[in-house]
Amino acid sequence: MTDLTTMSAAELGRLIAAGEVSAVEVTQAHLDRIAAVDSAVHAFLYVDAEGALEQARAVDAARAAGQAPASPLAGVPVAVKDVIVTKGIPTTCASKILEGWRPPYDATIVERMRAAGLVMLGKTNMDEFAMGSSTEYSAFGPTYNPWDLSRIPGGSGGGSAAALAAREAPLAIGTDTGGSIRQPAAVTGTVGAKPTYGGVSRYGLVAFSSSLDQAGPCARTVLDAALLHEVIAGYDERDSTSIPQPVPPVVEAARRGAEGDLSGVRIGLVREFSPEGAEPGVVAALQTSVETLAKLGAEIVEVSCPHFSYALPAYYLIAPSECSSNLARFDGVRYGLRVGETPDSTLEEVMAATRDAGFGPEVKRRIILGTYALSAGYYDQFYGQAQKVRTLITRDFQAAFEQVDVLVSATTPFVAFPLGSRTADPYQMYLADLYTIPANLYGGPAISVPCGLSDGLPVGLQVMAPTMADDRMYRIAAALESTQEPLLSSQVPTLEGKTR
């Protein structure tokens, strides 16, 4: 039999349901793979081998008892970004301030995955509290890109993307506040989807920026992402911002897209995403992909979104402002790290010392930025103004979607960059999310799908759709995917025995 770690989640689910392979075998194969390569990749912060095998045994037992599979993904392993709370399993957000914390409850999406029979392998590495674009801001050391271990795997969800690329897991959960699912997908040659804001419950997602955060599926194929999307999405009464509507038919759309016919589809190219800021190899791959989409029957139209150029500054006021409030609860009083306690220390001193020791530099930078932006006298000028820009960007999207069905762009302006090359200048790091941030500000869905290589490194195409039209982006992404050689099966270097 082919190596189980190279198969898609859809195939694995089918084989398990047919009894051709057991969930335990599939889980063990991935645990073995993790044992073999994760010392080089460092995609995982915690591997729950015992728990995973137990869940796999439960799936096998249910099948042996004649029960129908709980879902098409029953028995398929999944890796979960460490910003999602998991009952009894350490959840750190890659921060020292939460080291050792074992949550007393499961996130809604974790409950849904358990109910669907998915097997949770463990928790993946990330930039601390999901703030960063390279996973270099993890308090527990970076993750390395399986394509080139000297390069970053993107961020903040670099661990989930790298785990897929290194074939340590066939599926993963990411979260996307400004591109943290899509940009890592692009630079690791994997698929990552940010659903419509409110499409997937945020209950149990440790908040970075509440109005932007959205959990979503990460996979190696568009269909796999859609299958996982269907498991985790849908209304949740525990999340007030959750949308009480049926989940868009994403799986059906992915299957239909794979047929490769896009006739009647209108695709928009955003004029304001000028090629100047992007690497030539990225621009070239985008151009080829657009031509491919046209060949499949799509009509390509240039549209103008004049306010997109203000997206990055608006994002860097809104996200830090919300984060400064969301992260206030980490104070050493109730859980997590506590330092500086002496017989003479005051409460304020203990809180300050704990936060100083517990948070890393990027988190501190954003807390300070956001605290300043929300201060009396500055609110209108900063947070208030950024919210107005957000409204204008939303109107740009709405106007564009009157002309076209979806918008496409490169996912990120540059391919995986070398570790350490952008940490000295925060702005250079922030540019990685130039093309992904508008969709977060608007709230619409967006997906990154591999669209070629630049100097041997993967490039991603981003497809953006109107809110609650997540199915559209799956259809376009699957159509493009159907024209490409699968990147990962041939191109990813062997990782066994490698050290960094």
Binding site: Y105, L205, Y379
Partner: protein, 501 residues
Amino acid sequence: MTTTTLSLEDVLTRYEPVLGLEVHVELGTRTKMFCGCPTTFGAEPNTQVCPVCLGLPGSLPVANRAAVEATIRIGLALNCQIATWCRFARKNYFYPDMPKNYQISQYDEPLCFDGWLDVEVEPGRTVRVGIERVHLEEDTGKTQHIGGATGRIHGATESLVDYNRAGIPLVEIVTKPITGTGALAPAVARAYVTTLRDVIRALGVSDVRMEQGSLRCDVNTSLHPVGATEWGTRTETKNVNSLRSVERAVRSEILRQAAVLDAGGQVIQETRHFHENTGETSPGRSKETATDYRYFPEPDLVPLAPDPAWVEKLRAELPEMPAVRRRRLAAAWKLSDADMQAIVNAGALDLIEATVAAGAAPEAARKWWLGELSRVANEQGVELSELPVTPTHVAELQTLVDSGRLNDRLARVVLEGVLAGEGTPEQVMAARGLEVVSDLGALEAAVDEAIAANADAAEKVRGGKVAAAGVLVGAVMKATRGQADAKKVRELILRKLGVEG
């Protein structure tokens, strides 16, 4: 400055007070504001908590519809406008009794705004107090500091936090500045809080018990010279935990500020704490160094947009307001304002109304509750409503008196039995064998015996000294163990002795 001997009346000929009151009311909803935890008072610490009200990472709030409804009803009762669209906001500051280090509250978009409440300060004198806003927020936990001398955090060796209260829905009601009250200021403040409490109690949305903290009051006070156009610097007095304290706190703060101003000093803008034992205030934290709360709209909650049709339905279903009810009952029972005030002050209005509803005449019901029962409640140090006697008992008792089966003295004995838990008045009568002797034959025999045994007295009566009959009546009453109608006994005696009363 505590040695001031200024009188309020004197001070207020020179200074004009401006008051502002902020009242916090804990709603009596079954569950908390943003989660499903119960809200029972007095449970073991940290037993009524969940990831949401503990603010655990990843948890999210969901607004309690019953709390929103209760707040709208309070707003409507206070003649407010109801927002058609508004948001919650985060109030950011670090304190260990706040699990998230921010409080979900409302800032510039309150649910209810711009209303008023008419307050009767004394019979015939009503003041209209403007309502700035009514908004909804979550309560904090409770901190207990151990080891310090004062019970405050300063000097404490250990601090304990109970999060049972964290997340209980809290309504904040803020008045517009109250001006032009002159020397009535302390009384206006007290009357306002009293009236507000009665309104909220009538709505049934909170038990509004100041001693349990379900109604809490902060008082803002400032003084400016009479005739000045600019208001003085205000202070905010916290820890005002009873209606009496509201009045005392205003009085004491007016006197303190007047003394400062008289001495040429300046009032400092600050928070002050009221002390029940001394009736005075002491400084708390200075507002100048107060936290910048960095309010911003709560992104975890969708905006509130109450359906106007729903609001109108709630308006139509509002209960009768206490002042209206008092006027109606005073007219029906033919009571003066002062009589009605006495009933209200005694906490007897509901009881008397129920007693009348159970069949008693208003005057009789009032007599029992304000007389004998008030005396007993006073002796026992409890509220009238806490006595183990019901309006039905009282009505039944009065019926027994009206029908002649009990006289006043026996009725009081029966009431003692009811209060002692011996059952209904009928049951007590039966068990104790208490009833007016109505058998004429038995009574005549007792009269004859008394006349025979007290020949001197009988002779005096025959001779026209009618007052001497008292001895004979007393003897009959003694013989019947008080169970005779004294009036009737007297009539019988006089008739037998040939004297017509």
